[in-house]
Symmetry: C2
């Protein structure tokens, strides 16, 4: 099967790397909204102007859209689903129902299939929540993130005057995880599950105290969390905090029968968040290509994909080796 990448940042380069690990998948092109002649792909695959993507339809079974959820995907995914089978990693949880509706209408109207919200959260974490809830209906689930770089929180700090660059880590609180694992099913506010550690490079004359206070008071991002702020040089920030690790865990505990406590846990530890997300997108592309061949149309999520469709092995091979 032939895939192409739309949007060539960290995530797009991750898809390029993931495609090379899957022998049944050929990457036929990268589409960029920047000047294509200014960009060389890592693998040497051709780089084209995004506006010409329609001209390449014969070479694209599935188009993987590697753009941001805030403003790009709400426009791009429905527009591209009118012309292609598409995959995106839309991750604004609260807006997923609206995004699903828009993409579903576009894909059904054009006879295509679209997979939205693929990745790990939403994505593998969502599936884990679903399996656990289906098996333990009398229970409670908790999602912990980190330790990892939160790109949205890092970006929020960069908007503060005097800040040159910043990295914000989300760190789960061990005590909260221990209580959840023990089956206590506690009620936990967001700030009781995680703390945040920020590394910030500022202009020389900046008021460090005022910047730290501004970070710690920022609503929706840092207020309500135990937030540490350390000031470092731009060089140290690049050198010590230039990677994008992440991870976390989904834990559900529940009760069966005469009070037996049962625990289900799914955990990720990722050296590269964008490369892992990209690996999920590529497996998702394989799945919707197969589902399209079976006549499935419209917008789906990973909840709708039979696991077997994600992997290159046949049903016989799967039953003999992985079951």
């Amino acid at each position: 099967m032939k895939i192409a990448i739309y949007g060539y940042g960290n995530l797009g380069r991750g898809v390029e790397a993931a495609a090379s690990q899957n022998k049944d998948i050929t990457l036929t092109g990268v589409f960029t909204r920047r000047a294509p002649e200014s960009i060389a792909s890592v693998s040497g695959v051709p780089v084209y102007a995004a506006e010409n993507v329609r001209d390449h339809r014969a070479d694209i079974d599935v188009l993987i859209i590697c753009c941001g959820s805030a403003t790009d995907l709400p426009q791009l995914t429905p527009a591209l689903a009118a012309q292609f089978n598409v995959v995106d990693s839309f991750d604004t949880h609260a807006r997923i129902p609206a995004h699903h509706a828009a993409v579903d209408a576009a894909a059904k109207g054009s006879g295509h299939i679209a997979l939205i919200a693929a990745g790990w959260d939403p994505g593998l974490f969502s599936i884990s929540r679903l399996y656990a809830a289906a098996v333990l209906p009398e229970g409670k689930d908790y999602t912990f993130w980190g330790k990892g770089v939160s790109q949205g929180h890092s970006e929020a700090i960069r908007h503060i005057p005097g800040v040159l660059d910043a990295r914000s880590y989300t760190i789960p609180l061990q005590d909260a995880m221990d209580r959840v694992r023990a089956g206590e099913m506690p009620e936990l506010k967001p700030g009781e599950k995680h703390r945040r550690a920020c590394y910030v490079a500022v202009e020389e004359e900046a008021d460090r105290g005022a910047i730290a206070a501004a970070i710690q008071a920022m609503p929706n991002y840092f207020a309500g969390y135990d937030t540490s702020v350390a000031f470092v040089s731009p060089e140290e920030l690049r050198k010590e905090h230039g990677r994008l690790p992440h991870g976390g865990s989904v834990i559900r505990t529940g009760i069966t029968g005469a009070g037996h406590s049962q625990r289900i846990e799914f955990a990720l530890e990722l050296a590269s968040n964008p490369e892992f997300t990209a690996s999920v997108l590529v497996a998702g592309a394989r799945a919707i290509h197969r589902m399209a061949a079976r006549g499935v149309r419209g917008c789906v999520t990973m909840f709708d994909i039979p696991p077997a469709d994600l992997i290159s092995l046949s049903g016989e091979e799967l039953r003999a080796t992985l079951l």
Copy 2:
């Protein structure tokens, strides 16, 4: 939807308890090969003779077969799939392809759907191996079991002359798990992943040393493993080792892009192995009832079930709450 239980041991009673936790599911009967008048169900649901199960077809959307894999299920599941939509927990990994073929022929011949090998291993562990392998094709997975009671190993000890009763625990080796988690991808023989701890009650005049030696030398069960044997009284065995806890973890590490190490881990800690397995069977029954309504026929495994089919929530509810 209406389900019934075929076979009323630990697993069957677990299904009875799980059904009571799912409001969309009604348990209509228990079928036993023992004398039905000698058995009272825990919930008060009627107990019938297994040989009369066909007479109750109108009250059974899905029949959950709660019998053993060694000799019962290879006969029973194909026979019952010729009359009902069925679920089983067939767990002899090496014989799954043959079981699948037999059940598939029976179910397709009669226009039914059958889910085999549901539970946690095979079952949720299998799905975890599949998702992890699909996302990290350049990697290696490991399954650790325990700490938990291995019923097959306990039974093997009971066959030794002089043994009254026994319990064998499978315990994962922490050092092996640590190496796997660190991404070393070691080659590990079975005895390098687990040890076994046996608690054995024997006749008064029994030769304890000979029994311990016989256990430790038993091929396919204990030979090749670090196996401890402790002799306890029948009372202590019942009191201290009368429960059926189990669990374990599936861990896959892999490499993406320019050498980034990624880890996926799925773990269970179960106070009751049969009740948890039963909870998976009930969710599986819901799924195949829906798949049957969509026209799916033949034998499936959990690899073939879209996760959304396992849970009572609608697609809209799932996208709004769990995605």
